[in-house]
Amino acid sequence: MTKSNEQGKEAKEKAQIKFSKKFYSNEAIKKAAIDYKNIAEISLEEDESTITATITPKEDIKNISKEFSNYVLGLIVNQG
């Protein structure tokens, strides 16, 4: 069974989410991080197969890491 990649859930707490490089492009994740800079501080760490985004929200936003994941997916689909 595949486990959820999301570790942090509470608002204003650090949350981490792992993106598989096979599905999520580096450019889309970086673009999403730039777009999110007004509402959260995002640091990206990269290894061979994944990119880990550590998100520290500036405001109370529920499930920010999952929202971020949806946003990245949207960028990938719309960029074609």
């Binding site: 990649n5 598989s20 096979k22 689909v77």
Partner: protein
């Protein structure tokens, strides 16, 4: 609990759907996932060559039990099938659409724009330029004798046998006779 390709985690209100990439292309999976981002959190994982795992979590978790999560997974699979079918139809009809658009574009620009609209015409013009590099099309153009006459040997019928030419020839003959006299 779950089907062979569905795993439900009721505690975290999440359902995992596993998809065979040989049946559904990655493009179809992305399109379906994007459709679900409106009301659900969607995350992709796995291997695009062997098995794609889609994690679905409803944004509204107030009344989500195992049965609701199972129906969500089934709904996702239905959408996947629908997108796969559309994609297949689109691929099959692409050649026909291209031929029809090429025919429309062979009309004068102003008429073609009425049929397809200006932005669409510009987009298709680009695609047709790419198609112009098709070797078969190029071969057909080369075979057409009316296109090139680099030596200037070919003479149009009107020029050779036309009425205007007769007048010119008569005028030349008259001028020759006068000069001979």
């Amino acid at each position: 609990m779950g089907d062979s390709n569905i795993t439900i985690n009721e505690a975290e209100c999440t359902v995992f759907v596993r998809v065979n990439p040989k049946v559904f292309s990655l493009g179809v999976v992305y399109a379906t996932c994007y459709l679900f981002t409106d009301k659900h959190y969607v995350h992709l994982d796995g291997d695009p060559q062997k098995e794609i795992t889609i994690e679905l979590a409803p944004k509204d978790t107030s009344s989500k039990n195992a049965a609701a999560l199972a129906s969500l997974a089934k709904e996702f699979e239905n959408e996947l099938l629908k997108h796969g079918f559309y994609n297949m139809q689109h691929t099959e009809s692409l050649a026909l659409k291209t031929i029809m658009l090429k025919r429309i574009l062979s009309m004068p620009d102003s008429i073609a724009e009425v049929y397809v609209g200006k932005p669409m015409k510009e987009k298709v013009d680009k695609e047709v330029k790419l198609l112009d590099n098709d070797p078969i099309e190029n071969m057909l153009k080369e075979e057409d004798p009316s296109i090139d006459d680099p030596e200037g040997i070919a003479i149009p019928w009107e020029e050779k046998y036309g009425k205007q030419n007769d007048k010119k020839q008569r005028a030349r003959k008259r001028s020759k006779r006068k000069s001979a006299d």
